[in-house]
Symmetry: C2
Subunit: 445 residues, 2 copies
């Protein structure tokens, strides 16, 4: 993309009402625009990051054998009467009355609807196990929306639901989700620690929240510092392998790591003192096993191997897709702007032309642009007639991890400059070598 043909409305001033770094930087970098309290438009740059996160979530869910579908945003109220949550969900539910006077709502979550789909179509244990998921807009009418997309009212979420014949099968589904989530967050450049949590309005005996450590997190967390040494890496996973999934869950959840809701001082005291940490965390996902909580009242039964109907064991599993955009920025920025991890960056590489209009500089930039494109990468070429300082400031603000700077002086020596946004380190090298290096960085992503 050429910047003169793009829509990147960066702001010079820091917005007064934005309290945290991600909110400030998303507004300044022209990623979002607030349309009402807690409701945002995703401007082109923000949309690209949102889509990259969505794509990674889709890929990892499908790798784990989970099946994508899509439920609507508006739901009939009756379903929530069946489960009993119509009363219990409270004022965060956005209730809607349609022109026929029917009671509807904007879905904050989908346990009821997916259970309705299941009971309408599945009747035998032979069709299990089954995990369906979707990525859809949700609404929770927060009384005090704040922190930008981190705590918005309209938000984008992946929510998945497993249906299993037995509790053991459902716990394997739980473990499978934990494993796939670890992989998902790592691909986004995030360390998200699974922590024992509380079921809240979803319910459930087993539940883990995934938290990204950040000073601006809304949750207080307590953990054994050894958990932050764990990395998922590129291990080969067979998601049907019960023992393998269990052993990864054990590896990542045995050490103490809890949110304040489930924190236990006595247990925490058993962690060696030098490894005891308390910090703040941003919740970016949660998994639940809740057994027959919805299947029993809603009649989601299958015929078991003995011919008798049994309610299915279920769990639900969420990843906050829009919230992750903010969480990644909280975890990765500096005083000049955002620093995107390669896995989610909106453009793979920036190109800065120091002398727009100079035939040689323009030609070299076009060559790099075509070269990156031919490699299957998306460059953002700042082809504006602007001072170098303004171009660098924009690139630093929007946070592309790599930048190639092209100027007449370097070209005279046959070189351009490749700069890492994260380290600030630059290297002079011939244009072809710069292309090769960038290609290598993104190989396999």
């Amino acid at each position: 993309m050429r910047l003169t043909r793009y829509f990147l409305p960066v702001l010079k001033e820091t917005p007064a009402d934005a309290q945290i770094a991600s909110h400030r930087l998303m507004l300044r970098a022209g990623m979002v625009k607030q349309q009402a309290a807690g409701i945002y438009s995703w401007l082109p740059l923000g949309w690209k990051v949102l889509k990259n996160i969505e794509r990674i979530v889709h890929e990892e869910q499908q790798r784990a054998g989970h099946i994508p579908m899509l439920m609507p945003t508006v739901q009939p109220g009756e379903l929530w009467q069946e489960s009993g949550r119509d009363n219990s969900y409270g004022p965060e539910m956005l209730r809607i009355t349609d022109r026929q006077g029917r009671k509807m709502l904007y879905g904050p979550t989908n346990e009821e609807m997916i259970t309705d789909i299941f009971r309408s179509h599945v009747s035998s244990y032979k069709e299990l196990p089954l995990t369906l998921y979707h990525i859809q807009w949700k609404f929770r009418d927060e009384i005090r929306p704040r922190f930008g997309v981190m705590r918005g009212r309209e938000f984008y979420m992946k929510d998945g639901y497993n249906f299993d014949l037995t509790k053991d099968d459902a716990l394997h589904a739980y473990n499978r989700h934990l494993v796939s989530y670890l992989r998902t967050y790592e691909r986004m450049g995030l360390q998200a620690i699974p922590m024992r949590a509380d079921g809240g309005p979803i319910g459930g005996d087993y539940t883990h929240e995934f938290l990204v450590l950040a000073e601006t997190g809304e949750s207080e967390v307590f953990y054994d510092s050894a958990v932050t040494d764990l990395t998922f890496g590129d291990r080969e996973i067979d998601y049907d392998d019960v023992a393998q999934c269990q052993s990864i869950l054990d590896e990542f959840t045995t050490r103490y790591a809890r949110t304040d809701e489930t924190h236990d001082e006595a247990l925490f005291g058993q962690v060696p003192e030098e490894r005891r940490r308390s910090a703040r965390g941003i919740e970016v996902g949660q998994i639940f096993y809740f057994g027959t909580k919805y299947s029993e009242p809603m009649g989601a039964h299958v015929q078991g191997p003995d011919g008798k109907p049994v309610p299915v064991h279920m769990g639900s599993h969420g990843i906050g897709v829009s919230r992750l955009v903010g969480a990644i920025i909280e975890a990765s920025h500096d005083e000049n702007g955002i620093i995107w991890p390669e896995g989610v960056t909106p453009f793979h590489c920036g190109i800065v032309n120091l002398k727009q209009g100079d035939a040689e500089a323009d030609g070299a930039c076009e060559g790099l642009y075509d070269g990156l494109t031919a490699l299957g990468l998306e460059p953002l070429y700042d082809d504006r007639d602007e001072r170098a300082g303004a171009k660098f400031a924009t690139m630093d603000l929007i946070g592309l991890p790599w930048r190639i700077t092209v100027g007449p002086r370097g070209l005279k020596n046959g070189v351009v400059e490749l700069t890492s946004r994260r380290t600030g380190e630059s290297e002079e090298l011939p244009p072809e070598a710069a292309l090769e290096k960038v290609a290598g960085i993104y190989a396999g992503r």
Copy 2:
């Protein structure tokens, strides 16, 4: 995908309340489930088609230089008071009151919001031309939703908006959209004819609707049969080329083609009698130029070359993404089920194993499965322990354009059978040759 691991709840009975073929077939093929009047869940097979259509729309919009973004589904009521449409839009607007008592609505379209974004961020003619678009769920509270996803209440739509300094520039944007739409529909295997139409609640002096001819269409249309001979083909387009876009618009819109809203008997009478046609059509898109209808009342001005503020010239351009799923089926089915065009099919090729459990047949099917996957194609392998007849019926119903049938008898002679869903013609050939043929069919898509 292996069918035993998928969720494909096909129905044996024809649903009683579905009046048209696409609605019946989408329910029978397990593509959608109705959740409330005019509100559907997209089950896995339906979701895949919806996503394919969405992908083609994105690719063609970006090819034309239009910039993707995303606006929220819920909008503040104030914006619609500014434009004056808050009163005029009528009861199809789904109005919502949030917990703070603020008036909100579920967006049926986005002229107001995009104009608000534009006026907040763009101040100079130098930033024009600009076309922004998004693909987002919309809601129109139809009094009588029917025909399945063809006339639902919650529906998925691409809507794009151009901002230009002059009427001439905006008309080029109009032409560019017309050209890109022709290409878009052809990639989906559809002939959609641009017809002079009426502005309706969007407004506008220039507007064309794109109609797919089908007996079940809601609109009566009148046209010169010569328009159905036109095809877009794979011509090279330079979307910045004003003359080229104009000439394609002329080519496709000069001959008589109008909906009943703008039909003119006298003009129609000038078409040679043997070429006069009246038929029914399904509207799958519409483009508008409406000048300063929104920019003036909402203050979307830019500073012109002479330093004076001028309201921008705008148009909006919609493609009914969810509706297209139904429209494609209306245009392409037979008594046994759906016939997907290759461009949108949910799986590229079916594999039917005539003798599940037979080591040789199973092995050949696995080989084809891996071979198709290695080609970058998605097979659907019917690995159920079912009669051949049931497997064929399912494949015919869900409409994959190509099917490979594998049985012990053929394997003895070293062949499998490749069958076209459209023609019903079969061909026996070695497995490797079948793979090669399927690869050739999808090459370049």
